[in-house]
Symmetry: C2
Subunit: 207 residues, 2 copies
Amino acid sequence: MYTISSKLLEDAVNELARLPGIGRKTALRMALHLLNCTVEEVSTFGATISKMRNEIIYCRICGNISEHEICGICADVRRDHSVACVVEDIRDVMAIEQTGQYQGVYHVLGGIISPMEGIGPQHINIERLIERVAAGSIREIIFALPTTIEGDTTNFFLFKKLNGYPVRLTMIARGISVGDELEHTDEVTLGRSIVNRTPYESFLKHK
Amino acid sequence: MYTISSKLLEDAVNELARLPGIGRKTALRMALHLLNCTVEEVSTFGATISKMRNEIIYCRICGNISEHEICGICADVRRDHSVACVVEDIRDVMAIEQTGQYQGVYHVLGGIISPMEGIGPQHINIERLIERVAAGSIREIIFALPTTIEGDTTNFFLFKKLNGYPVRLTMIARGISVGDELEHTDEVTLGRSIVNRTPYESFLKHK
């Protein structure tokens, strides 16, 4: 990587390189782009990001981002508050909302258990989930965590914690992606999709 | 792309997505990362970038970025001010400085002629180059622009403009990259490298 002769540019590159997935070379390209923008544009850029950080709050109930104490989904009386879908982060809420297939509410953990990255159960929003279940209004918890070792670990931890409560615990279906060829599917997924086969009538119903 | 329910987050994603090479999905990932940073970190992030934009100035002589009216290279009396290397942007200055092989000064165009992108000669720092040459202290101009159609067009435009002046016009060597296999080199480069072959002794000398 090049030596940057200007301290001002160097500082800006260092800040941009802290963004996820951005190396110093890309950060330099970004900094030079920002140098070519007007003073107003750059000032709006910084102010908009600061405003987001300062004003966004997290829903007191589910942990989703919100502009009020309770998020739009938790405040929506038309949604089914007896079903809560447990997700890793806000992007998963967006992804599920995008499908238009889910009418329940959410619980955003803000991470998953990952001993490799030093993230334990105490670092994520689990305590509040137990409280919500203990309060008694939730009838079903849907685990919608990543299909990774960390996701499975977190699912199992939640299962152990919630097992005593009168709540149905389900998990989103794992199987062949719609549009995928069988020959290109990994063998674990393919094997499980045979073991966990579903009645054909239910496919016809939801088609 | 997902619908973002928060206006604050949406605005921040839109700002980040204006950075070069950043799509909305990456911008969302960045915004969520910044949401997880402390208020101080995010405020430093914005302030550092604004400070760079507000305080960096361009060298009055060569167009390089600078914190003073004249950049460190143009102000350095040990450098050869009779040779000026014409480059597209500041990154090229950094790349050439990094080699440690060049002792002359620079001229940063701030772009190259690109009719496709609507960039004409009047949009880049050419007028000032003509003035520098006309002032008479420059003995050699080295064209170090990209080896693309746009680079070649700009080289030719500069050649036509500077041809009448008593200045030597040279171009950085084009040929096989050091470490490359001949069979993997494109045929235009390989063909030209045969036509423009250099004496073996000069290779031995610079090895």
